[in-house]
């Protein structure tokens, strides 16, 4: 049976009006609302629309018209990519059957199964997918808040912040100091801060070789540490200093007006300060009441919230187990969620969840490294099955191949996400 558009609209409005109609498959087209159009949300919306071939109504709520990927934004800082090459629009998703709504989701009524938008609209759903990425923990870095992000950019949501940070680096005085306040675990893109340091060093080595880079880090260890440290020594010897928790790296406060960083009470004057605060799930997860200690716990079998079976959470916001918070992970989780949601709403076949992730990082020109793993869902969590990491001392041909592979991956995954 094919429903005509008028009939469907009528049914939809009626559902909203009664506010608690249960899902009855076959009563009208099932509705999926996706909040967040990044690597997780856009993939989920696209796959559900594509694979259900019109049997499921999919609405994507995303405030920005052009999405700048956070992955590869470090390569823009290093001068290896143009910012425009990181921007993606939603036209192909719309052509693929996704109702793209550029608005902010501001409230979720789990009883009524509705999402309210800042613009006043209300969307009803049978299944809701939340993929809002990260937000920052208030007060995580004393002295820093959102009003200070112009003086001390985070650049951890790509776009204007990334441009600002690059402009500040380019304007550093000769021999100046670039400081980074690195975040505690867990956070988006575990190698991200350290790839960023590599790219900043690459930039400064050419334009301002006597400049210094200072990393203030609350963590004992970090992702791909041996690879980064080997690369820093080889390419940027003496330029980069990292202060770990043993030397006060966990005790930091900043003064954006004075451009100072106090580490364990010792005040340093810096020229650029990249503050990457502690992170939590995108705030809409909090507002939906599905978070615990800042993140949204999910069951890995279908990425369903542990607190509401009608909500799935993807990517950075999800607390799922062993997968790192990355665009690759979000894309991988989105496909499992899309399959699960289609299974529930349209009776399509559901296969066992499989997940994977690979994170490439660039240390210097054509010096690429990677780390990756495969995962499966257990009742307790998403658990790592197998993994690999680049080795120290690899030859230049392999490192170049790894970098070229990362370019291919970027082209591939952005097509997979945005169509």
């Amino acid at each position: 049976m094919k429903l005509n558009r008028r009939h469907f609209l009528g049914a939809s409005v009626a559902t909203v009006a009664t506010l608690s109609a249960p899902t009855v498959i076959g009563q009208g087209k099932p509705r999926v609302v996706v909040v967040g159009g990044g690597a997780g949300g856009a993939t989920a919306a696209r796959y559900i629309a594509k694979d259900s071939q019109g049997a499921i109504d999919v609405t994507l709520v995303e405030p920005t018209r052009a999405y700048f990927t956070c992955f590869f934004s470090n390569l823009y800082l290093g001068g290896f990519r143009e910012l425009d090459s990181l921007a993606h629009t939603y036209g192909r998703l719309a052509q693929g059957g996704v109702n793209v709504v550029h608005d902010w989701a501001v409230a979720i009524d789990r009883e009524a199964r509705t999402v309210s938008l800042a613009g006043g609209g209300v969307l009803a759903y049978d299944r809701l997918i939340l993929a809002p990425g990260i937000d920052f923990v208030d007060g995580a870095v004393p002295g820093w808040d959102i009003s200070a992000q112009h003086a001390m950019p985070h650049a951890y949501k790509a776009g204007s912040q990334t441009e600002l940070l690059k402009a500040q680096i380019m304007a550093m005085p000769e021999g100046g100091v670039f400081a980074m306040v690195a975040p505690p675990n867990p956070f988006r893109c575990p190698p991200g801060p350290y790839e960023r340091v590599s790219m900043v060093a690459h930039l400064l080595k050419a334009s301002n070789p006597s400049a210094k880079i200072l990393i203030v880090d609350p963590k004992e260890k970090f992702s791909k540490q041996a690879l980064f440290e080997e690369g820093w020594q080889a390419h940027y010897g003496g330029m980069i200093d990292r202060i770990g928790p043993d030397f006060g790296g966990a005790d930091v406060r900043v003064d954006p007006a004075a451009m100072t960083v106090a580490i364990d009470g010792v005040v340093e004057k810096v020229d650029v300060c990249n503050v990457i605060p502690a992170q939590k799930a995108g705030r809409i997860c909090d507002m939906a009441g599905i978070t615990e200690n800042g993140w949204a716990p999910v069951d890995g079998h279908g990425m369903q919230s542990r607190m509401d079976e009608n909500i799935h959470v993807l990517g950075d916001s999800a607390q799922q187990g062993d997968m790192p918070k990355s665009g690759f992970s979000a894309n991988s989780q989105a496909k499992v969620a899309a399959m699960t949601v289609r299974g529930v709403l349209s009776g399509s076949k559901v296969f066992p969840a499989k997940f994977s992730n690979t994170c490439w990082s660039l240390i210097d020109t054509e010096d690429g490294v990677k780390v990756g793993a495969t995962y499966e869902a257990t009742d307790e969590k998403i658990a790592k099955v197998d993994g690999f990491i680049s080795q120290t001392g690899e030859d230049t041909a392999l490192r170049r191949a790894t970098y070229e592979e990362s370019l291919g991956w970027y082209a591939g995954i952005t097509k997979d996400i945005f169509g």
């Binding site: 197998d386 291919g408 097509k415």
Partner: protein, 236 residues
């Protein structure tokens, strides 16, 4: 036997004669391998006078990085495999001459492969005589070595479930573009089913180098590999 020893002694001037004889015997019969090599000689030369022909010369091939013979115009496929870390140890050489495409997609080596394990062992024993210090020589007799890329008829006969393949394919398309575009990452669209299957099994057995592919293939069952081969093989 005496003649073989003589050959080995001549060629292995840098290694101990007894050791060389022992190792050469372990791979196969180099003298017989010389006869087998006739099938390779249409394209490849080996020995003091050898030069690059249709294929590169094979002096010093053991333990050499693939595509490392400066001056020879290799195919993009084998250059990619070289960048991934393909080194011609005994195991990879055997896999390659058993079925070139199983090890290197897009190789220009237009050779269907040596099916007979003894032929492979013997020709490799012959080639080894033209390499200085090969490593990875197995302890066991050649007959004890498993075939590297040979798949049983049962595995090749598995009919892939296209729908399952389509679901599984979503893991591949994070990197490999469905429409066959390849920049930095090769296309896997529209391959003959059997080529896809042997390539994935070669990754699963870690004969093909590449950590991501070894990891991805490592957890695919025979049925899942067949399903993927069917799905991607059917894409335009």
């Amino acid at each position: 036997m005496k003649r073989l020893l003589c050959l080995v002694l001549t060629l292995f001037a840098l290694t101990g004669a007894a050791e060389a004889e022992q190792e050469a015997q372990q791979i196969g019969d180099a003298e017989r391998g010389r006869q087998v090599f006739v099938r390779c000689a249409a394209c490849h030369q080996v020995g003091p006078e050898a030069t690059d022909r249709i294929g590169p010369h094979l002096n010093g091939i053991f333990d050499r990085r693939a595509a490392a013979n400066a001056g020879f115009d290799y195919s993009p496929g084998i250059r990619r495999a070289a960048d991934d870390g393909l080194v011609w140890d005994l195991r990879r050489l055997e896999a390659y001459i058993e079925n070139p495409k199983a090890l290197v997609s897009g190789t220009r080596m237009n050779f269907s492969g040596l099916d007979d394990a003894q032929d492979r062992a013997d020709v490799l024993a012959y080639l080894r005589g033209f390499s200085d210090s090969p490593a990875d020589i197995p302890e066991a007799a050649p007959t004890a070595r498993p075939r590297e890329v040979d798949l049983t008829p049962e595995i090749l006969a598995i009919v892939g479930d296209r729908e399952y393949g389509e679901y599984l394919s979503s893991e591949c398309t994070t990197c490999h573009q469905r429409d066959g575009t390849s920049d930095g990452i090769p296309s896997i669209t529209g391959w003959p089913v059997e080529d896809f299957v042997v390539a994935m099994h070669a990754y699963r057995r870690q004969i093909r180098p590449h950590p991501v592919m070894q990891m991805m293939a490592g957890r695919l069952s025979d049925e899942e590999i067949a399903a993927l081969a069917t799905y991607f093989g059917g894409l335009e």
